[in-house]
Structures are given as C-alpha cells and as structure tokens.
Amino acid sequence: MIGLGYTLPAMMSVVVVCVLELTVLRTGLFREPAYWISMGIVFIFQILVDGWLTKLSAPIVIYNEEHTSGLRFPWDIPVEDFLFGWALVTAVLLLWVKQRPDMESGRG
C-alpha cells in the first residue's frame, strides 16, 4: 500500500505528458472536442478490457498490492490503470497530431 511502484509513476506519467504538451509540443489537442469525445470512448472500452484483465476471480495481470493504492474501481481495476492508459493514449495522439500538415507548416 505504499504506492511507490505504481501509483507514483502513474501520476508522474500524466504530469510528464501534460508538461510535454504545454512546453514542447503545443499541439492544442486539449482544446479539441474530438480529443475529449475520443477519450470518453476509449475510457468506456478501457473499463471493459481492463476489467477483464484485472478481475480478481481470474486475473490476467496480477498486481503487487504493496505498490498500488489498493483502490480498485470499477470492478477490480486498479485506479492507477486509468492514469497509465490516459498517458499512453494521449502521448501517441499528441505525436500524431503534431505531424498533421497544418501543424508542420509552422502554425502549431
């Protein structure tokens, strides 16, 4: 229940992605409705897939509870997974949008 192994890096990953966007990438992705709608859809599917991967009755991924906050919601999903997933998907979207033709011509 210390959380240093997963909770802390998961929170850090979100901070790193935000700092990268605000200081280096500056794509403006966070101002796009399409981004937030997409993340809402991703979130729903994450609950389904991650719920299956982490269900305590027959887990595919097994977490060392010493390294997590112990909070699992919904079902048995460690809440840290949502930070991890957000950082993973958002980071790739940022680099994808960064390469959009209107970004590369210098506007971004």
Binding site: S13, A34, A58, P59, I60, I62, A91, L93
Partner: protein
C-alpha cells in the same frame, strides 16, 4: 484455450477498431506518421513496463498468456503497447472526421438558408 485469453482480447481490440480505418485518411494508411507517433511512446512505456516487471510491481498469470516471451515481458504485453494506442488513434481519427463532416454540413445549411 485459456492461455490465449490475453492474445484474443488484443485481437478483439484490433478487429473492433478496424472499420474505423474508412474515415478520412485513416491510420494504417499513414504508416510513417503512425511509426513516428508510436515509437517514442512505445519505447518509454516498454522501459517502464520492464522495470515494473523486474521489481515485481505486476506480473502475468501464466495460465492466461501464450508462453511466448519477449525480452523482459510476455509477447502479449509488447503487443498491448501497440494495439491500445492504435485503437486510440483510430477512434480519434474517426471522431475528428465525423465532427468535420457535421461542421461542414452545418456550414452549408447555414449558407443556403435565407436570412
């Protein structure tokens, strides 16, 4: 059959998002852009994952993985970091294009309607 569970879930994710490729210029049809977006993030998360596995922050139930191992992690875990971002990109590409179509139609109908 159990040991294919993780692979089957990832395969399902690929299949379910595949039709989204029809929107706009798609994702798979822009392989260079895809590689450039995916690779740096993939490297970062693989390093994180390898460290987490090495420190026993999490591990995989041998019952539900294929047993095919990559350095530091099961094959499935490597594929996870490719499949999930792909699903995110296809979703974003589809949503962006749909919103673009909606906006264009609104614009058109606004122009056509008498003031």
């Amino acid at each position: 059959m159990d040991r294919w569970q993780y692979l089957l879930i990832l395969g399902g994710c690929v299949l379910i998002t595949l039709p989204l490729e029809v929107f706009g210029q798609g994702v798979y049809r822009q392989p260079i852009r895809l590689l450039r977006a995916l690779t740096p993030v993939l490297v970062g998360f693989l390093v994180w994952d390898a460290i987490a596995i090495a420190l026993d922050v999490w591990h995989y139930n041998p019952r539900y993985v294929s047993g095919i191992n990559m350095p530091f992690m099961p094959l499935e875990e490597l594929l996870f970091f490719i499949v999930i971002p792909l699903c995110g990109l296809l979703t974003y590409s589809a949503v962006s294009n749909i919103l673009g179509i909606v906006r264009a139609q609104r614009h058109k109908s606004a122009q056509l309607s008498p003031r």
